[in-house]
Amino acid sequence: MDRSALVEMTGISVAFGPVQALQSVDLRLHPGEVHALMGENGAGKSTLIKTLTGVHPVDAGEIRVRGEPVAFAGPAAAQAAGISTVYQEVNLCPNLSVGENLLLGREPRRAGRIDWRGVRRRAAEVLGRLHLDVDPSSPLGAHSIALQQLVAIARAVEVEARVLVLDEPTSSLDASEVAELFRVVRRLRESGVAILFVSHFIEQVFEISDRMTVLRNGRLVGEYATADISRRQLVSAMVGRELEVLEQLDRAPAEPAADAEPPVLAATGLGRRGAIEPVDLAVRPGEVVGLAGLLGSGRTELARLLFGADRADTGELTVGGRPVRLRTPRAAIDAGIAFSPEDRKAEGVVADLSVRANIVLAMQASRGWMRRIPRRKQDELARRWIELLDIRPADPDALLGNLSGGNQQKVLLARWLITQPRLLILDEPTRGIDVGAKAQIQALVAEQAREGTAVVFISAELDEVVRLSDRVLVLRDRRPVAQLAGEDVELDRVMELIATGGGARA
């Protein structure tokens, strides 16, 4: 037994029916350290965390906190023992206000009743600490996933916890928010909190963590000091073989012929009151247009207008040169547009249907209910895409809700890719996806473009946007500020535009 460990998990095994999610895994957390938990999608990271906080009972193994064996009955008990957790999918109540979500269950009280003024004050304080500029009384559901993620983090760091668990807290955040978060994490580390951190961003892990534990297929690969391991070694520990994912994806700039072709989709003055101001945008076949901007800059809003998920109240759209009015997603799909939404839990995943049914859902919907995709075809599609995207478990009959977050995302991508759209709109397609899969997805997008699909690509990772895009539309405060093309698509340039709004209008 490690006397200095604050949390010590030994020999943890968990099975969900036939799926062995964890097998004899060990994990130690020391006070005053940031410990990264690494592994591919479905490796068992979230499950390990949920065992620690008592969400899942363990089949075998022991958990000790400060040397004492514990078996938490649930998150409430874990919280009471000083373990504060941010779970992977945002787990807050969208119907309540931001402030309440921050303090639910530990609202300041006066004479037995909730002191609402105190709640507001406290909430403002907590938000201020993370430099978040939101109205604490606004309903949480009205905010983007990124903001909700920040609220969840704020909630977790609000309490004086001994252990802070962060399961992919940064998946939707952009650089400045991540920096903000890390500042907080460092401060907590200095004050002796043990922090467990999960992320698929290798750079972030190396930046913040002191030690790491690597899982693969539910088994422990090893524990390493961050200083002693290289990026390449880490990836091969996670993946189990050598992988050239850290090479930058080389994408040839758009073929000059592209300009000659009529745009797949062209928007002029497209906007919606309160959501996004009028935007002009044209996407040509084979072209990848990136949308860049900070959190809340209106990228998602624009994407939703392009897809008819929300109705635009100004502007025109043409598809293939013909004017259209996209009143419903259905109309957009008929026009050859596909949209993978940002909030996969609420807007993408049909949890109680199988992986297969989820993969063919959009294709089936566009064929109409009368013309069912034959079972053999469904199986074939599912098998091919499960293999292509390395979806795990590789079982087309598994319920999508039981897959790990990253694997769910892959299924949603497959849903749209099989419809072979003319325009593919991807809002944060690589959110929560492991390094290997991320490279695969980037390659897929590049390949789609090469085959003539037009792509609108949104990602919180500017790197990714810049690397993939032929053109980048920069948004700021829900307003377009610039469009960069060709040589100008460059990380520094984009960052500068985002930061300053740029005098230069495109």
Binding site: G17, P329, V350, D352, A357, L361, M370, R371, R372, L399
Partner: protein, 349 residues
């Protein structure tokens, strides 16, 4: 079929055995006037309207909806058909009966479309949207019949419940045919999956291009049609339309049947075979109360206790507890060797 076997059949079996114990001739079936006759046949025959109503309800519930107007539509369809027949110059001709039946079905379809309009188009919560029809509809039925029981003497109309196909009561044949049709359609087309998708996550379905509005619309129309057929059966059974009482509280029994069948009221996954089983269980329970001679003043308590028992025994949580206890008792050595494969996820919902 496999689906059916996974459903809880035992409450039905237990009830049947209880009857057999009280009445040894319970399973006896004989031919009477070219038609099968016996308690089992009664259960099927009397259960047919409930089974149909529950079938429509199943699909509505699968889309996260609920239809409280089922009982009312039963009353309306009987009222319209019987009033039409009784007030026509030729109240005994098959043609009149057919027109009356057609009218009833058409009106029911319109009422279903109305429900669908409120739910799908206006986005009103299903329970309140269908409550409107539940309240007003019975008044409508009474308006049609002028509050009287309309008696008809029409051989063709009486035949809906009185005649038999190959000795099997027509009601049973019709109900079976509709079940088969729905099973076929939902399996052979994508309707089943799309209905489930809409029920599980409406927003995701909409963004995936599923025409959720028309699907919701369709299921309400279908539910109303099922109820209308049930109404025709019920009124044909007594050759009269009773706008005041026909189908009263039928919606609750229909919902109960759906849930006994394993479909969750939260929408999504549904089971048609389960609903059939649920409807038969409820009808058997009713018949049992009559034939075992439960006094009316305790019959509701009896019904409540049976329902509670059924659900307790069926609850996954309880089953898991029992399984664990049994395992602990059966094999004293650590259970590592006997990795019982858990039931496929999702089947029990």
């Amino acid at each position: 079929m496999r689906d059916l076997l996974r459903r809880p059949v035992w409450p039905l079996v237990a009830l049947l055995l209880l009857n057999l114990a009280v009445m040894p001739s319970f399973f006896a079936v004989r031919l009477q006037d070219g038609r099968l006759y016996g308690s089992l046949i009664d259960i099927l025959h009397n259960g047919a309207p409930l089974a149909l109503a529950a079938l429509g309800m199943t699909l509505v519930i699968a889309t996260r909806g609920i239809d409280l107007s089922v009982g009312t539509v039963v009353a309306i369809s009987g009222a319209v058909a019987c009033t039409w027949i009784a007030s026509s110059p030729d109240p005994a001709s098959p043609g009149t009966a057919l027109t009356g039946i057609g009218l009833a079905l058409a009106l029911a379809a319109a009422l279903g479309a109305w429900n669908g309009f409120l739910v799908a188009r206006l986005g009103i919560q299903p329970i309140i949207a269908t409550l409107v029809l539940m309240t007003a509809g019975r008044g409508l039925a009474q308006l049609v019949t002028d509050g009287q029981i309309i008696t008809v003497n029409n051989g063709f109309f009486a035949g809906i419940s009185g005649s038999a196909l190959l000795a099997v009561p027509l009601t049973v044949v019709v109900a079976a045919a509709v079940y088969a049709l729905v099973a076929l359609v939902t399996r052979r087309t994508a309707l089943g999956t799309l209905v489930e998708a809409v029920g599980i996550n409406p927003e995701a379905s909409r963004l995936a291009g599923v025409r959720s509005q028309s699907i919701v619309w369709t299921v309400y129309v279908f539910a109303a049609l099922c109820a209308a057929v049930a109404g025709l059966m019920i009124s044909s059974n007594v050759n009269a339309a009773d706008a005041n009482n026909a189908g009263l509280w039928l919606e609750l029994d229909a919902i109960l049947a759906v849930v006994i069948g394993g479909t969750s009221l939260a929408g999504g996954r549904y089971s048609i075979a389960g609903t059939l089983l649920g409807a038969l269980t409820i009808q058997t329970l009713t018949t049992t109360i009559y034939s075992v001679g439960i006094p009316p003043e305790v019959s509701l308590v009896f019904k409540a206790l049976v329902v509670i028992l059924v659900f307790l025994a069926q609850a996954p949580k309880v089953r898991a507890l029992m399984r664990r206890r049994r395992r602990r008792r059966d094999d004293a050595p650590p259970p590592a060797a006997t990795a019982v494969p858990a039931e496929t996820a999702g089947s029990g919902r």
